[in-house]
């Protein structure tokens, strides 16, 4: 090729690629409102985003896996706590020093309206359709290992108890060691879960009642707690 026309080798591929990108993005951006439920982006939800940016949360945590890798991804964190755990999640953010003893989080002076808005915002991000990422919250891959730790979450045990470094501090941490010290058999553990006050009148734990569990779930959970895995 003549030297005079060499620059075409540069300009043509560039233009082709740019045209492809613009075309695709146009389509893709049209899909975003549906995939993100943009109709739910009220002013209060957006205020949550403003607050998260104000405190620069994203330089320790990631959203969609982007940001600082120093702390867990927040995209779907609201799913872990659920509406029932909203107050607990608020407390974690407002008083991190109570909840984290190893690696620490900065204590900010977050206002009441900001924290409420953050909750609404995190609730919104947790429902964005992002091709099933991260793996821990994935429908396909889920939290692997045993069904037991899934149950602890699904049944909201972790609102009060801790397991594997996650969960609340109102009840004792659920180590196998603790379980075996407190119950003489799997059977009594099982009875206790269904109705805590039957074995110990002073127990503050909520009675779950048999209806909350299937037999299989209860078996799995008891085995899991007893063996610690």
């Amino acid at each position: 090729m003549k030297e005079k026309y060499l620059w075409l080798w540069f300009i043509l591929p560039t233009l082709i690629s740019a045209a492809v990108l613009v075309g695709l993005l146009k389509h893709s951006i049209k899909e975003i409102p549906i995939r993100t439920n943009a109709d739910l982006l009220t002013e209060k939800v957006v205020a949550g985003k403003v607050a998260l940016q104000k405190y620069n949360c994203n330089d320790c945590h990631t959203f969609f896996g982007i940001g600082g890798y120093y702390a867990p991804d927040l995209t779907k964190i609201y799913r872990k706590y659920g509406d029932g755990g909203r107050e607990l999640l608020k407390d974690v953010i407002l008083n991190p020093e109570k909840h984290f003893t190893g690696r620490r989080m900065k204590k900010f002076n977050i206002t009441d309206s900001e924290i409420e808005a953050m909750m609404d915002y995190l609730r919104w991000t947790s429902n964005i359709n992002n091709n099933d990422w991260p793996p821990v919250y994935s429908e396909k891959y889920g939290r692997k290992g045993n069904g037991g730790s899934n149950l602890l979450k699904a049944k909201k045990c972790l609102l009060c108890h801790r397991y594997n470094g996650e969960g609340g501090g109102a009840g004792p941490a659920l180590s196998a060691d603790f379980i075996r010290k407190s119950f003489d058999s799997k059977d009594s553990l099982r009875k206790f879960i269904i109705n805590p006050q039957s074995g110990n009148k002073d127990s503050l734990m909520l009675p779950y009642g048999g209806a909350e569990f299937t037999e299989k779930e209860l078996d799995d959970l008891v085995k899991f707690l007893w063996e610690g895995r």
């Binding site: 030297e3 060499l6 080798w9 540069f10 300009i11 560039t14 082709i16 690629s17 740019a18 492809v20 990108l21 695709l24 389509h27 893709s28 951006i29 899909e31 409102p33 995939r35 993100t36 982006l41 957006v46 985003k49 403003v50 940016q53 104000k54 405190y55 620069n56 949360c57 994203n58 330089d59 320790c60 959203f63 969609f64 896996g65 982007i66 940001g67 600082g68 890798y69 120093y70 867990p72 991804d73 020093e97 620490r104 900065k106 204590k107 964005i128 992002n130 091709n131 990422w133 991260p134 793996p135 821990v136 891959y141 889920g142 939290r143 692997k144 290992g145 594997n164 470094g165 996650e166």
Partner: protein
């Protein structure tokens, strides 16, 4: 104003490099603090005083700032030299622009410590400072374009290198704009964010780097211009062809439709190709003049293309595969890639520019290279070690947190040691960097009795 003030273009460019080197030195302690925060658990008061988030913002913004200043200084020189001129269009404006950018950057970075931030990774600079940056960028674009234009008018000189360089700086400035606004929808926010970050490092910065590399090869090895131009066009064309749609590798998990998984992957797996060509081509040209290849600058350039290919091409090409990225996305593997790619592609190349131009400005003919070679070895060895430690930590993270499904915190416990080693390697890197910065400040002629 500056009309009758006679300012030497070379002196102004020298200031760019001095400031870039100072900012580079400041970047490093923050990196060490970041890595050590993973290894040790700092007490609450330390975290409240300088949280990881602030340190990370400082570390990364200093990086971007020093690299841009380095490229601007180098860009001015190339525009001047390629136009056959001995002066840029306006040294005064160049100095003014340096001051504006320095003030914007440093004010912004000091502001981070007081919570003045836009709160988006790498683009934390507040809006007001963004406006100053844009002002500086506009002055730069006008000044460099006018310099190239003058070269064309006076000497009929406008080379392929100038052309690619000019496009690179124009795109870099334009791409900054989507990043300065507030976006309500996080998916749109990340889309704009990646337009800045991805199209910078895998697009416009890559153009600038290939122009700079071509310039150094042309003036230092004496290889035929025709060969250099041909490869420059082909490489730059391939970089943009694969890299522009390649942005899709950042749309996999951010709320975009799933067709990006295969479109983004198809284009971005080809991104290593131009980097391989660049390596192969530079190596051939360098070998054309063996005594240069073994000199300090030749070594810097050689290792730049090697680590550019490995850090960006191989590391990045591996993580860009959707079935890999699903598990590795946003882990220490990403950090490993980011460090090796930035170091190879841009840092080493800029060091080569600093050595060539700063010694030329000082009128040094036969440079005393010993300190430079030692610092190069320490920095490069430490950087390779550091990225391997991040790689180990990242592999543990992927296995435990992502695949086995452990909680984030539990998996991190097992990564501590490797992050600690990374901090130690970082200290080694900083030591090597200190030697280099000192050396560049006090360059000297090789004396007859020192060998």
């Amino acid at each position: 104003m500056g009309g009758q003030m006679i300012m030497d273009s070379k002196k102004v460019i020298y200031f760019y490099f001095i400031i870039a080197l100072v900012l580079f030195s400041l970047q490093l302690p923050f990196g060490i603090y970041l890595a050590s925060s993973y290894a040790l658990s700092y007490p609450q008061w330390v975290v409240d005083l300088i949280p990881f988030s602030t340190a990370r913002a400082v570390h990364t913004n200093l990086l971007v700032l020093w690299m841009l200043l380095g490229f601007m200084g180098g860009g001015y020189f190339i525009a001047m030299a390629e136009g056959g001129l001995n002066k840029i269009f306006s040294p005064f404006l160049a100095l003014l622009q340096l001051i504006i950018l320095f003030i914007a950057g440093v004010t912004g970075i000091i502001g981070f410590f007081f919570g003045w931030t836009q709160g988006r990774p790498l683009l934390e600079l507040p809006f007001q400072m963004d406006l100053l940056v844009i002002l500086g960028a506009v002055i730069f674009l006008l000044n460099i374009t006018a310099t190239m234009y003058r070269g064309w008018v006076q000497n009929r000189k406008f080379s392929a290198i100038s052309f690619i360089l000019l496009l690179g700086v124009i795109f870099t400035a334009l791409l900054y704009i989507p990043g300065i606004f507030f976006y309500k929808n996080i998916t749109m926010d990340w889309t704009a964010w990646w337009v800045v970050i991805h199209l910078w490092v895998e697009g416009s910065w890559e153009l600038i780097a290939s122009a700079v590399l071509a310039f150094l090869l042309a003036v230092l090895t004496g290889v035929d211009r025709k060969a250099i131009n041909k490869w420059l066009y082909i490489e730059a064309g391939l970089v943009l062809f694969t890299g522009i749609v390649g942005i899709g590798h950042h749309f996999y998990w951010t709320g975009h439709p799933d067709y990006w998984l295969w479109i983004g992957a198809s284009f971005s797996v080809l991104e290593p190709l131009p980097l391989l060509l660049m390596y192969w081509d530079a190596k051939r040209h360098l070998e054309h003049k063996p005594e240069f290849l073994s000199s300090l600058v030749g070594t810097l350039m050689f290792w730049s293309v090697v680590l550019h290919f490995i850090g960006a091409g191989v590391w990045g090409g591996f993580m860009t595969l959707p079935f890999v990225n699903y598990w590795t996305h946003g882990t220490q593997l990403t950090v490993s890639h980011g460090h090796l790619a930035f170091y190879g592609a841009f840092a080493l190349l800029l060091f080569a520019v600093f050595y060539v131009l700063m010694s030329q400005f000082k009128g040094i003919k036969n440079l005393f290279e010993k300190r430079g070679v030692i610092s190069f070895k320490i920095m490069t060895g430490s950087m390779i070690a550091m990225t391997l430690f991040f790689l180990m930590a990242g592999t543990i993270q992927v296995c435990l947190e992502r695949i086995a499904g452990w909680s984030y915190v539990e998996a991190q416990e097992w990564m501590r040691w490797w992050m600690g080693f990374a901090a130690i390697a970082g200290a080694g890197f900083a030591a090597g960097a200190a030697i280099m910065v000192y050396d560049l400040f006090f360059l000297k002629e090789k004396s007859l009795n020192s060998k």
